[in-house]
Symmetry: C2
């Protein structure tokens, strides 16, 4: 399904732009103004003449130009008439923000909308959704004010989200953490554009490196399985399923009106399709971070380098519990490291101790990168120790750029640490707060890369 217009339409009508600033249509329109969107944007409201200095149109039929995308934010009762007008105007793509359909038991309105969409061959994202966001083009139908929800910069993470809140709040958090997005869709009731259609489209999207999904229900499991299997060969797909318990499943009915289905069937499908399963939102975001930034790991043998012994021990426990393997660095690596830094604990973990210096990190990482017994490196940098120069960040970034093995980092701390973590992140290295987050994310990377034929 060609969804180009949902992310880069050249002319857009927003139907239901109220003069009241807290109303949905108003926020959507002002987001386009604020973002200085590169296409024509037409506000539609028959009761006013002007809005934010722009001419308001009585209906989409009155817009002089061809319209490529309509965003509909009128009450449910009024929405069918608007869709009819869109059809007559020849608009083929609409985002239906309006709620009040299947999810509140209004099945009749549902059927009528479906019929109209069929009649005019309209692709519809929604109803009951936030719609679409594209960090690269600036198209943004999210009715959440920019002052409250920070939009992420341009990047490689895409999010397909049945629930608006789950996706948008995560995107807001990701933006704060310095992560860039490619595209975002909240598709709500999935009337005739569903998760799989969007997945397929994102699979081909050159800006998208990793695809995150939050799924409540699915109408066509086979279609998903077929598509996801294909896409996951090319780029990682991470999915979290809402309603994996029967109690959670019941709550879905009043949310997006979907049928939750059996969790086991979903998990089986994820496995079969090579989709990475996340059990929590935090996992979803953590996995997206490593997939977005890291190169493939060619095996499960992990080396830990640390300046805090306890962190080394907790990382080791976590690696073993996750099913990854503690690498056994070669005798040469350890001997050379000991020669250069006699006090260092040379095994795995390599413990550079509390007086670790940047040079010690450089040497340890470099030796491990050249050691064929090691597939990936988790570097723990606790920036609180007085001897460690802040240039350790630059050194690790530099080594990572030349590296053929993934390097990820762990640092826990306050403001001083936060700034250095951001620097690390901005330069392509995930910096997790806790050892187990890093290890479990690395585990997913190793699993994903396995059998992809990327390594020799």
């Amino acid at each position: 399904m060609n969804l180009d217009k949902f992310f880069s339409a050249k002319s857009i009508a927003i139907v239901g732009v109220s003069p009241e600033p807290a109303k949905v249509g108003h926020i959507i329109f002002s987001n386009f103004i604020d973002a200085k969107y590169g296409g024509s944007v037409y506000p539609v409201n028959p009761h006013i003449d002007k809005i934010l200095g722009r001419k308001s149109y009585p209906s989409v039929l009155d817009i002089p130009e061809k319209v490529e995308l309509a965003i509909i934010a009128v009450p449910a009762e009024a929405s069918l008439k608007v869709v009819e007008q869109c059809g007559k105007k020849g608009i083929k793509d609409i985002v239906m923000v309006t709620a009040g359909f299947r999810e509140v038991g209004n099945y009749e309105l549902d059927r009528k909308l479906e019929k109209l969409l069929k009649k005019y061959r309209i692709r519809c994202v929604g109803p009951n959704c936030l719609g679409c966001f594209d960090a690269h083009t600036g198209l943004d139908t999210l009715f959440l004010p920019r002052s409250r929800l920070q939009r992420p910069g341009k990047g490689g993470i895409a999010f397909i989200c049945q629930s608006g809140a789950v996706g948008s709040a995560t995107m807001d958090l990701a933006a704060k953490e310095g992560y860039g997005f490619s595209k975002f869709v909240s598709y709500g009731n999935a009337m005739n554009v569903d998760e799989t259609d969007i997945l397929e489209y994102f699979g081909k999207d050159p800006q998208t490196r990793v695809i995150c999904m939050y799924i409540e229900g699915m109408r066509d499991g086979k279609k998903f399985l077929r598509t996801a299997s294909k896409i996951s060969e090319k780029k990682p797909v991470i999915a979290i399923k809402g309603g994996v318990t029967s109690e959670g499943g019941r709550a879905i009915l009043s949310h997006t009106g979907s049928l939750a289905g059996s969790a086991e069937v979903y998990f089986g499908a994820f496995r079969q399709a090579g989709v990475t399963k996340a059990d929590t939102l935090q996992e979803l975001f953590n996995y997206a971070r490593i997939f977005d930034k890291s190169i493939c790991a060619c095996g499960p043998r992990i080396q830990v380098i640390t300046n805090g012994g306890g962190y080394g021990i907790l990382s080791t426990d976590s690696i073993i519990k996750s099913g990854l393997v503690m690498a056994k660095p070669s005798a040469m690596t350890l001997k050379e490291l000991r020669r250069r830094h006699p006090k260092v604990v040379t095994s795995n973990p390599i413990d550079l101790l509390g007086d670790a210096s940047t040079q010690m990190y450089r040497d340890a990482i470099e030796l491990c990168l050249n050691d064929r017994n090691i597939d990936a490196i988790i570097v723990i940098t606790l920036y609180q120790t007085p001897r460690l120069g802040t240039d350790v960040v630059g050194s690790i970034i530099e080594l990572n750029k030349l590296s053929k093995k993934p390097i990820i980092t762990v640092s826990t701390g306050g403001e001083f640490t936060r700034i250095l973590k951001m620097e690390m992140e901005k330069n392509g290295i995930p910096s997790y707060d806790y050892p187990d987050e890093a290890v479990n994310s690395m585990k997913q990377l190793v699993e994903y890369c396995r059998g992809k034929g990327i390594c020799k």
Copy 2:
């Protein structure tokens, strides 16, 4: 064991204060100066006359006053002589920051130190440790500069930590998140003051509400079991065990020289002693947050109130998976809520929908607080929605103050959200990032409160 002097000594000697600012002794001394510590602080270094404008003493024996606590930060070889002098001076409490004992295989030095401590009846925190921090008195032996490791404010969380890095980095993070501490000890090799001695002392400490522990090894399990059982009746004890795998256990030997022991034995002891087990550092901190701030939950029946449907569903899944129970609010509660706000989804979760207002939250929470079918409430507030006033924070704080049930919150987001979360935290309500963090923390609270006879 009376450990008063480790946290509020009136006269302190710091032995090994180098003029070089990055050296351990220097940092410790300047931390006391910066904190304007309320007692006398004497730097000791025979090679200099003055340091930071203060007279330096050749040895502790030259200090004119009685010394209550010595902090020793000289190299291992020189440390025994210093301890001998401390003994002669009549100092009964020392913090031995110095490393280079058992943990590097130097068992002989270990034995000599032990003998000396016995001879002079000296209590020793360390060696190979960061030592002590008291947020209330300002006593602070941590050799981590304040510019790099933020000290937390006064509060109720205590941390007993065998590894210096684990505790101090977590404390730094906690300080950033607005959490206050009572006391902190990194006790390293646990020569003659061990985790149980400190636990017992913290058990009696009126400023300490919750005790966190990071344990690598233990010499006297029975003593721990006996003490922890007693303390956990009065205040929650949360413990994380490092080295729960055999690989992790091996790493411990070169860290604090402890024997890791069988994880199952530890976990069994935790269970038996009423100690809350954390599997990760994040769990440890998350559990401390709810124990620090919340009143007891009198049962496992949880009500979820949300303005994001997907968050409600994920919370429900998490509650069921954790073994907690979804509360069944009374018909009266739901009827009254429906009467006031007809569009709201009234069951559990209560979904106030994307246009939730502060009044809707107030009404929903108030009704649930008065509902005898509900033991605790998880309130999800996604602040990104345009209709939700920021006064919702104040309203929840107000309701929580009068409440006899624990209320905790969940909010995910960027900068706008972060500020409101901090406001919530500052006023006694934990505000987690993700639903499962809140649910799993609530689970620990419910477990801890069970059978304590606090509820009728």
